[in-house]
Symmetry: D2
Subunit: 211 residues, 4 copies
């Protein structure tokens, strides 16, 4: 089967890691990770959340900044035209907006609240990474075909190098997950795995120690 | 087959048209619409471009603002980490950055140049629509699984109602096109067709005449 | 004395009110309005806060959306390079981040937390106003020569019509207040007073009732 | 005379240079630097432009990226509610949008076109600096009390360290210039001079050579 994208130059370049990585953790909140929540119960999301906690521990050991976020609204007046019913119930302070305990325990440096899909839209996430001198961002979270996809696009647009460990992002269904990783892997980001991300964090820590 | 997304509340709401529509036209430029260009030659893109020109004529007749864009870079220093090889050649003024003649002939009100996937990122597109009082945006262009997807997410995030006529957006391959429209149709936008969009523009024009 | 700005065309146009106004209320929080706080004690800020509460009541009566904000940081990692010492202490949840009781009592529709000077930077304020169809924004708050100035610039840049009631914005010192209102009044916004803003809100309400 | 700002903690911290500087050059275009243009003829602007060209040469020698911009509009539909009459005539391609020859000769890496006061609003300037790993930005240009002020606020908000050489920014009138530098020097930026900026660029170049 001919890959029309490869034929037309998609995926022709690699991104790679730059000088300093940062980690973003998108929407691992009870609304998605609690099996009892209306949007909860996806095994891929649960596995990605657990694996992201491992990655966060490696980031902390390496002195790499971690910015997490949840979807939350100060009031219904702050909700854009979401077609997903249960998203409208994520009013700040309700149970669905609580960070997953595994993510909270791993200790993000900052936890932001957002109203839109991307962790960078309507938040200071980009400014926080800029202040830290980050040029490479590792994107984790849920849902791959929703807020993760949006966050990857924005990170790329902001001029950052983007790395996506596929076992640290999760979706309700495998087909949507796969298509979205293929889409972004051709254009904006390197699709790697948590093991490779952890190795890169360790390399960064060693170089930093020497400097 | 169970639709896990519908089960979890995705697509539970409809967006609809609001008070005033605007039209955005993403990347119908020679780099994608000229069959001889490295990224050109996709029949879906060609068809979407022709159908978008029809929609533009209806928008002009209805007094609805049209904002088009092309990817273009002032110099290589302005290019983010695109993995698509031929995108790096889209330096402003080179043939690949020319608006498709069908789109140019239909007369967009503004033509913007952008460096990132979304027509709204690093451009005044949002400000132009706000100044015009637009609350609903019809998104057309190419590529569905790239810059169109990104533009839809941003339009939604900006608080706009988003309508996507599926015959006015095109891709290299049908599977990516379909998955992306499914993704956004569950979350951010109504997926319609050009005929429905033209009907909505005519309704707007009639209401405007009465007001 | 020759006004070089007027001579060169500054202030040659008027902005006016458009179709639908919105109200933003910048940083009337204890950190600035409590006389005991390190940055508190400015009589102009106190007076502007009281007058803004009047304006908010008029906005609510007219069905006009009100978006308020406070400066606040989830953690020190979220603070940009502020040169103002006490700003660094405005960690979310500390007393200085509480909305002034007069503003809270007047019932803003949304209260946002921001890290930068402008109410629009790193927040969904723009998206909220867009969803409401707002094309004109009345800017109130403190400090005129700081976060108010920044919010006015952003509102203008976003394509909105900007109105600034000078008795609803306050500063530590009159000279900085005056120069900043002169600067923005020449370029971006109409400088009015609360009485004129209330009259415009009442006109809007009457037109809305008829429609 | 008591400085109420200093008393309340303004200016209590210094920003300093970080790891890597970048240079932005705001609106040194014929519309402001040509004495015959409606907004031209300010001696401070002329002097600031000449001194900025010196600074650009030092930046190039040091391998520091330079992003310049001009105000320009693709069509009248792209103009926000500017109150400055002659700004509405700055349609892209007209003489007023040409970069000043001294700035053009000094060779900026990228020249952007913007519609709003800040070089960062509706442009990829931030992304370009991020891709270059810049954490400190030197802001030059005109007019101090307009587009320079706006660019400083945005640079600060984006998480960058901001340095403003006062002899590289110019205004129509000294009082507005001074008040605006005082405002930003208390809050967002170090106000320095070109000599200090050039020394910092040379220090950066030496450190870079050793690394």
């Amino acid at each position: 089967m001919v890959d029309l994208y490869a034929q037309r130059g998609y995926g022709a370049r690699k991104v790679g890691f730059g000088r300093k990585p940062g980690l973003v953790v998108v929407d691992f909140q009870a609304g998605f990770t609690d099996p009892a929540a209306p949007m909860g119960g996806a095994p891929m999301v649960d596995a990605a959340c657990a694996r992201t906690a491992d990655l966060m521990r490696a980031a902390k050991a390496a002195g790499v900044p971690i910015v997490a976020c949840v979807i939350g609204f100060d009031s219904p007046a702050a909700v854009p035209h979401w077609k997903v019913g249960p998203v409208h119930d994520l009013i700040t302070g309700t149970p669905g907006t609580a960070l997953d305990p595994r993510i909270a325990a791993a200790g993000p440096d900052v936890v932001l609240t957002k109203t839109a899909p991307s962790i960078f839209f309507g938040t200071p996430a980009g400014a926080i990474l800029t202040r830290e001198g980050v040029d490479t961002v590792i994107v984790t979270g849920c849902i791959t075909s929703g807020c993760v996809r949006a966050s990857i696009i924005d990170a790329f647009s902001l001029g950052l190098r983007v790395q996506v460990p596929e076992d640290c992002v999760g979706d309700h269904d495998r087909a949507a997950h796969d298509q979205n990783l293929t889409d972004v892997g051709r254009r904006y980001a390197d699709v790697i795995d948590a093991e490779a991300a952890i190795a890169a964090l360790e390399t960064f820590a060693r170089q930093n120690d020497r400097a």
